[in-house]
Amino acid sequence: MTVIGEMAGRRPRGHDLSLERESSLKARLVARDESALAELIDLTSPWLLGVAQAMLSDRQESEEVVLETFRIGWQKAGTLAASEDDRLLPWLIRIARNRAIDRLRARRRQRLKLERFRVTHDAGPAWPADLNEAALPGWHVHATVHSALRDLPPDQLATVRLAYFQGLSHSEIASHLDIPLGTVKTRLRLAFDKLRVALQPLKEWLA
């Protein structure tokens, strides 16, 4: 039973996101099935919020980005139909990440973000206490990506974190790490080359 005011922490109904389920979800979204949208929100919200929160360091703004992501996703679901290559979750995450980057660039609060980053980075990532990883579709993808990131040399990992997960530009990273701009570019190029190889097994994921 769920009593009024105690709706927090509802877990997604499904425990996986298989290719078949993703394909069915896509078809239902294209057909404007609102229950498919509700299902999609349950499945993907933790990941989209995670991406936005990592970049914006602001819970309220992150939620706003994700709400916008679902609005855009619902509007543009029709464009997903034609392409087998367009996977639902990466597509949504790309929208969310792009919205977060746009906001970052618009608000020009990098200095504040850097300060926050130092604090959170030094303290290590905060683990959400009530997140049941077994019930979270996509958890093993998260673990695989983490493993790939951990295998990077520390200087490359730090650069990728700042560029990809914190949304800083090359010149901002150079300034923050006090290294030449060319070094930032080299580190990123080497890191992305390694990550492309390491993430290959995920190409055909879901499950």
């Binding site: 039973m1 769920t2 009593v3 009024i4 005011g5 709706m7 927090a8 509802r10 109904r13 609102e34 229950s35 949208l37 509700a38 929100i41 349950d42 919200s45 933790p46 990941w47 919020l49 995670g50 991406v51 929160q53 990592a54 939620e63 709400l67 679902f70 609005r71 996703g73 619902w74 509007q75 290559d85 996977r87 990466p90 995450i93 790309r94 792009n98 660039r105 905060a126 683990w127 959400p128 009530d130 997140l131 996509g138 993808v141 998260h142 990506v145 990131l149 560029a163 990809y164 997960f165 530009s169 090359h170 010149s171 570019k185 990123l188 190029r189 992305f192 492309r196 993430l199 190409k203």
Partner: protein, 241 residues
């Protein structure tokens, strides 16, 4: 380095949107004219598509699903929401006014704001079920000298029911009001209903995920020790979808 070599070397940066805004703009302009780069960048985007999953997941706040549904579906705010919105705004305004009165008070108010926001979101989430209800069922319920009613709002999108229970006395000692789902494969025990002093209760229950399609509901009076998936006491209401 040739001009095109620069673009080749920065393809991954564009695919991951890690270029400086000026360089990104320059590259996008180039992309509109260069098929080779366009194909290469699209391939890189696919190869690195799962990279964002390296971010730690975040638990959505209460009511987030309904906020997202409302935003995506462009649902209009209806009249009942206005007082709720004003109430939340008032709480936030009060918080804003007191913000400057000291660090301790600031922290306390910030917490209150968060709680108010969560309570408001949870209330919106619950009331959204009423608004979205695909079916509304009503039954009169007689209990001793009292005449009450049971109203069910069935939301087929989120698979939840809001149950409103009015005008019934507290259950006699040793007994309880028990709510049941009638499913295709049998009865499924749901919540125990405990009306407040004025005989009202409103709660949200998830529709059972097993036992087949939900066909209706039953309200019965059971002993407090009753167990199992079949009503044994007096059936006070019986509703079919």
């Amino acid at each position: 380095m040739t001009a095109h070599q620069w673009f080749i070397e920065h393809r991954a940066d564009l695919a991951t949107r890690t270029l400086d805004p000026g360089d990104e703009s320059k590259f996008r302009d180039h992309l509109s004219r260069c098929e080779e780069c366009r194909v290469a960048v699209a391939g890189l985007e696919r190869e690195l598509a799962w990279l964002p999953m390296g971010a730690e997941p975040v638990v959505p706040p209460p009511g987030f699903r309904h906020q997202a549904l409302d935003r995506a579906l462009g649902t209009h705010r209806s009249a009942w929401r206005i007082p709720l919105g004003l109430a939340a705004a008032a709480v936030m305004a009060a918080g804003g006014g007191l913000w400057w009165r000291g660090q301790a008070r600031e922290t306390r108010l910030a917490s209150e704001l968060v709680r108010s926001r969560q309570a408001f979101a949870a209330l919106s989430d619950t009331v959204a079920v009423l608004r979205r209800a695909a079916r509304v069922l009503h039954a009169s319920v007689a209990m001793n000298d009292h005449q009450g009613s049971l109203v069910i709002f069935a939301d087929n999108i989120t698979h939840r029911w809001n149950v409103v229970f009015q005008g019934l006395p507290p259950a006699p000692a040793g007994e309880k009001y028990q709510f049941w789902f009638i499913c295709a494969d049998g009865m499924v025990r749901s919540a125990e209903l405990r009306p407040s002093d004025d005989g009202t209760l409103m709660l949200t229950v998830d529709m059972p995920g097993q036992a087949g399609a939900v066909l209706g509901a039953v309200l019965s009076m059971e002993t407090t020790t009753s167990v199992g998936n079949a009503p044994k006491g007096v059936q006070l209401a019986h509703l079919l979808l």
